[in-house]
């Protein structure tokens, strides 16, 4: 489903190269965990997948279902099924959350040639998704993410993911800022979405999240490259021994 080939990317503003020859393949149905120390390029990778303009790909390619996505803008990538759950979801004053959800869902439907959702059906879906994430509907009456706690923002991201039903879900440190109960709720939400035609890229610092969202593969990112891949036992190994060993091995 996703194939990243020898990807090199830098920050547009100052030319700093962050991703330095990254290779990664994720199959449909697979949950791939990306781990790595701070500054290894994990969040940058998620932004590049989503199409953020602050980064520029200088070499290599990103294939999604066999097609390069490099020329697609963020909206085109999203409507094609790529979803990024932000590490720090933006607060957008003045945009009502419900209004935003409706626009986003209908824009995606439009791009797929489907009719816009009727209001009762839209409300029903939002209500169901919110209930499953233990979210209060009153929260959704507020402007998008404004005044939400860290945990509420993360839940709102998963809520959007549930409603938009993407095919490739990129979760950028979704566990940060969550207490253990919220972590459970969010993980259950993610697990409920696991399916043979959907892939996940779960970016995290800690093994903790992977106890709840059990990965099929684990990849260690360091200095913009995948330096080691393995199964879920690799995450346990990293938890016990830290990154130093793996980094040493690769060097």
């Amino acid at each position: 489903m996703l194939e990243i080939r020898n990807l090199h990317a830098r920050i547009v503003d100052d030319g700093t190269e962050i991703i330095r020859g990254l290779n990664l393949t994720v199959k449909a149905g697979e949950v791939a965990a990306i781990m790595g120390p701070n500054g290894s390029g994990k969040s940058t990778l998620s932004y590049i997948l989503a199409g953020r303009e602050d980064y520029e790909v200088t070499e290599g390619d990103i294939l999604y279902n066999g097609q390069s996505i490099l020329e697609m803008d963020p909206a085109e990538r999203a409507t094609s099924g790529i979803f990024l759950a932000f590490q720090y979801p933006m607060e957008i004053p003045g945009v009502a959350t419900m209004e935003f959800l409706k626009v986003a869902m209908n824009e995606q439907r439009k791009a797929r040639g489907e009719e816009p959702l009727k209001i009762p059906e839209f409300l029903k879906r939002v209500k169901e998704a919110a209930t499953s994430l233990s979210m209060d509907m009153a929260m959704l009456k507020r402007p998008l993410n404004v005044g939400f706690s860290g945990g509420e923002k993360k839940r709102a991201e998963i809520l959007q993911m549930k409603l938009l039903e993407p095919k490739l879900c990129v979760l950028d440190e979704t566990d940060s800022g969550l207490d253990i109960d919220a972590l459970k709720i969010v993980s259950d939400g993610v697990n409920a979405l696991r399916s043979p035609d959907r892939a996940f890229l779960v970016i995290t610092h800690y093994q903790r999240l992977l106890e709840h969202i059990v990965p099929d593969s684990v990849h260690v990112l360091y200095r913009g490259q995948v330096i080691k891949s393995g199964d879920k036992s690799l995450a346990l190994d990293l938890e016990a021994n830290g990154y130093a060993g793996v980094i040493g091995e690769a060097a």
Partner: protein, 422 residues
């Protein structure tokens, strides 16, 4: 013989002075009113204000006013549906008060022509200063409007919508409104119409003790109209006034807001949005006098500038020497969406008291790229995402009004503007 050397009159100045001579016999008013008119036209004979007059710095009226249409008695306007359903509608049709006046308990509507004829309005016709060109123009030519009196203790459930609807030529109207002790009302001042009109409109509000008023100015003139408007208010003890304005039209627009707190405990809020498009000029100038102790005010202005539009906001807050414990805050934020548009902000604080809290801030920004990315990352195309963010920028000010019917009505006007200008 006049021995003064005066600069040559512009065609607009000449047209106004000639029009006054032609109109004089038709203008209603007793002796006192006619004297005010004479004084007013004298002021205009001295010339329209230029950018050298400080309060007109961003709007050189002498240069910008280049078309003065003739009066057009045949032009006809029709009352329109109010922005808030169920409002009591009072219309001025191309400068003339409508024959139909609604009857609601506790409120008196009187055509202003009657008050000009009996002279009772004369004391209110004085301009507020030597640079008050709108006041002078209006006093010279005002022929009608409404005097509205809301009796003490009256609490209106539905808004009153005062419609000033132009159809052609020139219109000069005045809307004095008195709100009695403890009365509560929402008043919509609707300024719209058709054609290349020159209009002046002066609203004068007096708030009694403890009165609470929300006054909404909705200006949607065609892009051919010259709209010169003034809103003046006196705030009595413990009264509360919220003025919201939305400028969403007009070729040359000047909206003055002149407010004075005259009673302790008075609170004034100004919230406004300027939606500027095309090759137009819009100037909002506020002069606020905190004249007594313990009064508060906040001003929040949001501007969206597209095309070749030019805009300005001048906000002057005078805190008088005895007006201790004044609390005033002013903010003006502009979203500049085109390279050819411009917006100027001039906050001025003049403080003569020593125990006050006053502040102001101004920003000019483009659309936040992080916000744009977030919306696009959810599949919203760039144009729609930009539209959402621009609307959000101004809708925030509307939502503060905290009355569902009003917020919905104003957002509908906002949507209408984005449909034509988005």
């Amino acid at each position: 013989m006049n021995m003064h050397t005066q600069p040559q009159r512009t065609p607009a100045e000449t047209a106004l002075i000639d029009a006054f001579g032609d109109r004089l016999s038709l203008l209603p008013g007793d002796g006192a009113v006619m004297l005010k008119r004479d004084d007013a036209i004298e002021a205009i004979k001295h010339g329209l204000p230029t950018r050298r007059v400080e309060s007109w710095h961003y709007t050189d009226l002498r240069r910008l006013l280049n078309a003065v249409p003739d009066f057009d008695p045949a032009a006809n306007a029709k009352a329109i549906a109010p922005i808030v359903d169920g409002s009591t509608v009072v219309s001025i049709l191309n400068g003339k008060s409508d024959a139909k006046v609604p009857v609601i308990e506790g409120v008196t509507f009187q055509p202003l022509s009657e008050k000009l004829i009996d002279g009772s309005i004369a004391p209110g016709l004085d301009p507020y200063g030597s640079d008050d060109a709108i006041g002078a123009l209006n006093t010279a030519f005002v022929a009608d409007g409404y005097f509205v009196d809301i009796a003490d203790g009256t609490e209106l459930e539905k808004p009153i919508e005062l419609q000033n609807l132009q159809a052609g030529g020139q219109t000069h109207v005045r809307l004095p409104v008195r709100v009695g002790t403890g009365a509560k009302a929402v008043i919509v001042e609707r300024q719209t119409g058709d054609g290349a009109v020159l209009g002046s409109s002066v609203s004068q509000l007096v708030l009694g003790e403890g009165a609470e008023v929300t006054w909404l100015i909705v200006q949607e003139q065609p892009e051919t109209a010259t709209h010169l408007a003034q809103f003046k208010a006196h705030l009595g003890k413990n009264s509360k006034l919220t003025v919201f304005f939305m400028n969403a039209g007009g070729k040359l627009v000047r909206q003055e807001i002149v407010v004075r707190t005259t009673g302790e405990g008075a609170d004034f809020k100004l919230r406004g949005i300027n939606l500027l498009a095309g090759d137009t000029h819009t100037d909002v100038t506020m002069v606020l006098d905190h004249a007594v102790p313990h009064t508060t005010s906040t001003e929040v202005i949001r501007n969206v500038v597209t095309g070749k539009a030019r805009g300005a906001f001048q906000g002057r807050i005078n805190v008088h020497q005895y007006a201790q414990k004044t609390n005033a805050k002013m903010a003006c934020n502009t979203l500049l969406l085109s390279d050819d548009g411009e917006f100027s902000t001039k906050p001025e604080l003049e403080i003569f008291a020593d125990d006050v809290v006053c502040g102001h801030g101004a920003t000019v920004t483009e659309i936040d790229h992080d916000h744009l990315f977030y919306l696009m990352a959810r599949g919203v195309d760039e144009k729609t995402a930009r539209g959402l963010l621009v609307k959000a920028f101004v809708a925030e000010v509307i939502e503060e009004l905290d009355d569902e019917a009003i917020v919905e009505a104003l957002e509908a006007r906002l949507d209408g503007w984005f449909v034509t200008h988005g």
